[in-house]
Subunit: 689 residues, 2 copies
Amino acid sequence: MSFRSLRAAFAATASLVAVGGAIALTATPTEARAEEGMWTFDNFPIQAVNQKYGTRIDQAWLDRVRNASVRIQGCSASFVSDEGLILTNWHCVVGCAQELSTPEHDYVKNGFLPATREEEKKCPGQTAEVLTEITDVTDRVLGAGQGLEGAAFNAARRAEIGRIQQEACGGDAKFNCQVIDFYRGGRFSLYKFRKYDDVRLVFAPENQAAFFGGDPDNFNFPRYALDAGFLRAYEDGKPVETPNHLKWNANAPAEGDVTFVAGNPGTTQRLLTISQLERLRDQQLPVTLIQNSELRGRLLEYSLTGDEAKRVSFDPVFGLENSFKVYYGQQGALTDPAFMQVKRDQETELRQRVAADPALVQQIGDPWADLERVQATARDLYLPFRQLDQAAGGGSTLYQMAKALVRAAKNTEATPEQRARLAATMGEETPIYADMEEIRLRYWLSKTREYLTVDNPQVKAMLGRESPEALADRLITGTKLGDAAFRREAAGMTLEQLTAADPLLAFVAANDDAAKAIGDRWAAEVTAPTARAAEKVAQARFAAYGTNQYPDATFSLRLSYGTVQGWSYRGVTVPPFTYMGGLYERATGSEPFNLAQAFADNEAKVNKETVYDFSSTNDIIGGNSGSPVINAAGEVIGAAFDGNIHSLGGSFGYDGELNRTVSVSTAAITEALRNVYPNPRILGELGVR
Amino acid sequence: MSFRSLRAAFAATASLVAVGGAIALTATPTEARAEEGMWTFDNFPIQAVNQKYGTRIDQAWLDRVRNASVRIQGCSASFVSDEGLILTNWHCVVGCAQELSTPEHDYVKNGFLPATREEEKKCPGQTAEVLTEITDVTDRVLGAGQGLEGAAFNAARRAEIGRIQQEACGGDAKFNCQVIDFYRGGRFSLYKFRKYDDVRLVFAPENQAAFFGGDPDNFNFPRYALDAGFLRAYEDGKPVETPNHLKWNANAPAEGDVTFVAGNPGTTQRLLTISQLERLRDQQLPVTLIQNSELRGRLLEYSLTGDEAKRVSFDPVFGLENSFKVYYGQQGALTDPAFMQVKRDQETELRQRVAADPALVQQIGDPWADLERVQATARDLYLPFRQLDQAAGGGSTLYQMAKALVRAAKNTEATPEQRARLAATMGEETPIYADMEEIRLRYWLSKTREYLTVDNPQVKAMLGRESPEALADRLITGTKLGDAAFRREAAGMTLEQLTAADPLLAFVAANDDAAKAIGDRWAAEVTAPTARAAEKVAQARFAAYGTNQYPDATFSLRLSYGTVQGWSYRGVTVPPFTYMGGLYERATGSEPFNLAQAFADNEAKVNKETVYDFSSTNDIIGGNSGSPVINAAGEVIGAAFDGNIHSLGGSFGYDGELNRTVSVSTAAITEALRNVYPNPRILGELGVR
C-alpha cells in the first residue's frame, strides 16, 4: 500500500481550446481503424498488423516484449539492461524524488544523479511487476454471481475472485495474482505477476528539464521535455537479473516507422452506454472539475508563499493540474454534439442487432434500460458517496492513513499476515507536510458542507460546533500520525484505543460508519447492477461483432501499434519530431519556460540536431506513462509520456486522424546522459558508447 | 462610473444538492401560473390580480409604488421616509461599507451605526434613480436597424438610441434616460429616471448579523439574516424630500397574505432558444464555473493569511461565492433532462404555430435556424472574447481603471463633458488592496495562457518573456493608478503619455487593439445577429400568444405578485417564517454560524417571537435584492434579499410549486433598531414608537 496518488493520468501538454467538430469515430468495432486499440497480449491481431506494416511479429516477439514490460504504481515501464534497470518517465518517479527530498536536498528541482550504484535510493512503497501468465477465468467469475443481486452479488464475486487469486499465488510474496475485468464484464482473466518490492531511484533529471513548459505545455505538441527516469529492481539487496530486457536503440525513428507501445492504460470508457456517458457529463465531471479547480487555486496561492511551500507543493500541483486537464478534455468530448451523435449511432446500431435476435433478447433482456435506471440511483447517491467516502479527506495523506487504520481495526476477520503488512506499511518513513495536509482537509470539509448542506446529519456529525477551518487545524496540529513509529504502533490498536490515542483517528473512527454505509450502498445499488448489466451488453457485443475486439483499458498490460506521424488540424500541420535545438529557441527565461540549469550550462556541448520528442498514432491513455516505444525489431526507441490535445477525448473514442501519443526518444535520453547529465555508468549499462 | 462590481445576483443561501425532477414549467405563456412574471409597470395584469386575491390595485396604487421604488447599482430599494431614507439590503451597501473602512474602522465587521445625521457618509460612486416616465420607442429602434447586419446594424441602433436618450434628457444631470430592451428585441421603451448622485450610508448592521450562516446558508431557507441596510439620498447637501415614500408597517404578514415585490430583476433567460441554452450549458457556464472556482480557492487561501487579508477579501469572496452559486444552479437546471424537455416542448409548440401561418413565415423566416448558426460562431469566439475582453483583468480594479483610461484616450470623438466626467470619476478616492489586485491579475493572465494556449499571438504579446506571476507583480507594484490624483491627471493624457507614464497603462495600451478587435467581432458576429433573430422570435411570440406576457428581466423596474408561503419538496415541508429566537438555536459559535456581537450582548432584550425572515411565491431574480415587499395596502413589510435553492433555475423558468423569494421582515428590522442596534433616530423617522 502506497500513499502516493495513482498517476494513471499521463502527464501531457494540453491547451484548453475546445477541440471538436473533427472527431471521426468509427461507427462499429468491425470497421475499426488499424491503429485503434489497446490489445491484450492473448488477443493481439498479429496477422492484421504484419499484413499492414510488413512486420514479422510472432508469439516469441510478443513473449519477449511481455517479459520486458514492467508495471509500476500508476505507470508503465520496461527493463532495459540485464541488471534490473528500468526505463520509465520522470513524472512516474518524481513522487519518489519528492519523498526522498528534504529542504536541504531537493531532488525534484536539482535532479537525482548518483555517480555509483550504492547511492541508488529505495523508493518508499514502490513495486515493479512483470506479467508472467494469463488464464481465462470468466466462467468461474460469472458463475459465482449468477442469480444474485446487490451486495450478495458483490460478495459472491469477491469471494470467488479471492479464491482464484489465492489458489494461483498462495502466500508467495514474490508473486501477485490479480483477476482483471475485460470488456466491462465480458471476460475475466487471472493475471499472474512476478513482483519486486525493493525498487530504487537511479536517475531523475531536473524537473525543469523533464517538465519544460509545465502545465501550459502539458498535453501539447511540439514539446521539449526529457520526461524520462530510471529505476532499478532489487531482490535480497542485489539488482535483479533481467536477461529478458529490451535492447536500447539510441537512434531516433523515421517518419512512418512502425511503433509498438507496451504498457498499462488505466481506464477507458469506450464501452459505456449513452445513459452512463450522460451522467458523467452532467454530474460527475462537472463536480470534479469545479472542486478540483478550487483546490488548484488554494494550492497555487499556497505555493507562492515561499520557497519551501513551492518545493513541497510541486508534485501535488503537477498531479492535480494534469488530471484537471484530462477531465476537462473528457468533458469537451462529451459536450461535443457531433461526438455524442456518433456514440448514439453506435448504440442504436448494436441495439438494433440485438432486437433482431430474439434468442439474444431472451438471454440478456434490455441491459441499456437497466443501466438507465442505475444512473438515476447514481445521480442521487453520487454527492454523498463522493464527499463521505470516495473523495473523503481531499487527498490528505494523514486522513488516508487514519482511514486505513480505522478500517483495519474494524475488520474482525483480518489475518495476522494482513495486520503485519499494515504495520510494515504504516511504519515506512514518508514526509508529511502539515500545511498541505491542512489545506486539503479544510477544502474537503468545506466542500462537503457545501455540497451536502449544513443540515445534513453526517455534516453535522463531522463538524459539530466547529468550522471546517478550525477543525482541520485542530486535527492536523494534534495528530501524531506524521510519526512512523506511532503509526506502526497504531496498526495494532483496537478502535477504542485509536480513538483515545489521536484526534484525527478519533474523528475518522467517529464518522467511518456513515462513510462505509454510503460506500456499501453505492457498491450494492450502483456497482453491482452496473456489473450485471454490463456483462449483458458485453454478451450482445460479442454476439454482434465477434471476439476480434479490444477491451476497455483496466490498468492491465496492453499492446498498441501505430506509426510515427504528425497530424493536421484546421489547416495547420504539426510534424512528428522536435529537436533539442528547439528547446533553446522556446526558452524565455521565465518559469515554466526557463532552461534547466544543466541544459543552460551545457548548451555548447548538446547536439541540437538530436530528435527530442516525437508523436505517433498509437492508441494509449493515462497509465501508459513510461511505456516503452518499441520498433519492429523489438528494440526500445522511446518512452511514451503524453498525448496531444486531441487525445483527451480518447477515454471515449479513438480518432486516428488526430489522436497522437507523445514520447521522449532514446536518442534524446542518450544525448542527455552524454552531454547534459554525463553518466558513463548508465550509458555503459545501456550498451551505448 | 463605479468600479464596484454589479451585484445583480442576489445574495442567498443555496445548498448545492442537485435540484431536479420536480420542475413543472408551464407549457406556454398563456397558461402561466398566476404568480409567474416580472411585469412592467405599463403592462401589469391589474384585473387578474384583483380577481385572484380580492385586492384593489389601480393605476394610482401602481404610480405610488413606482414613485417610491429606487434603483441603485446592481440592486433595488425604496424610499421609506419623507426625508430621502432608502431601505435596501445590507449586501447592497456592504461594498460601500468596505470602501469606507480602514484597518482601524471596519464597518463591515462592526457595522455602521452613526448616532447623528451629520455622520452619515457618502458612498463613492453611488447613485439612486426613480423611474418617472415610460415611453414606447419600438418603432424608432427597430426602424433604425432595418435591412442592416453586423457592425452597421449595431452602429445604427446605437446611434438612434443615443438620439432618443439625448432628446429626452438633454444634458440635465438630474435625469437619466435609458432605452431598455424588452421581450428580447420585441419592444423598446425609453425609461426616464430622476437621478440622485449623493447617496450616503445611514445604517449597516454587523456582517455577522446580516450574513449569519454565510455562504453555506446562502440561497437556503429557513434563514436567520438581518440583510437590511439604509441609505439616504441627498441633493445640494440636504436630504431629498420624498413625500412619495412607502409607509413602514412594523407588523409581520400572515401566511397566505398577498405580497408585491417592486424592483429591478437583472437578467432572466426564459425566452432563449434551445440552441442558445445548449451553448450556455456546454461552454459558457462550465468555463465560468471552473475559472471562478479557481479564483475562489486563491482568494480563500489568501483570506486565511491574516486579519487584514480577511478584512479586505470579505466582500470580494462574498460576491464571488454568491455568483458561483447562481451559475451552479443555472447549470443544474440546464443539465436536468426533464427541465430541458419542457423547454424543448415549448419551442416546438411555438415553431409549429409559426409554421402554420405562412404570412408569419414570410415575415420572419426561421430565426431559430439563424440562432443555431450564431451559436457555432459564438463557440469559436467565446474563449478569446472572454479572456481578452469581457473578463479581462480577472476583476482587478486597477486593470478596469487602466482600460477605461486607455479607451477614453483612443476615443477621438469624446466630448469635453465626457472627458470631464471621466476625470471626476477617476479622481474619486477608492481603496485599492495591492495583494488582491495581484491575485486577480495573475489568475487572469495564467487562465488566459491556459485557455488560449502559449502560442496564441495575443498571449505572446501580453506575456512577452515574463511569467503571469512576474508580470502581475511588476504591473501592480509599479502602477501609480492607486493614487486618485494621478488617475485624474491621466484622464487628460494621450495614449502616448499614458504609455510613458505607467507600466499598467502601458500594458493595457499595448494590448487593447487586440482586445477591442475581438470585442468588435463578438458584437458584429454574435450580438448583432442574435438581436436580429431575437426580434423575429419575439414577433412570433406576440403573434402566437398576444401581448399579455411579461418580458425577460433587463434590470428595469418590474412588479411581481404572490403570497406568503412555504413549500414542500420530497416529503419535507418548509414553513414560511423564521423567528428571531431561531437564530440563537442555530448559532454554534463557529464562523459563519457565530452570533454577531450585538445579538449576543442583547439576547435578553430581543423579542424572540419576532418574525425574522419569510418566504413568498414572488417571481424575482438577482438585481431584485433590496426590493420592498409590499402589502395590498401599499405598505412596506420587508426587503427581499434571496431566493431558496429551487429559485436558482429561475433564470430559465419559474416553478410556482418550489420557487420562493426570501425577505427580511420590517418587524425584524424594527426589533433590531429597538433592542439590538438601538436607534431612536431612525425608528422615529420610520414613524415607529
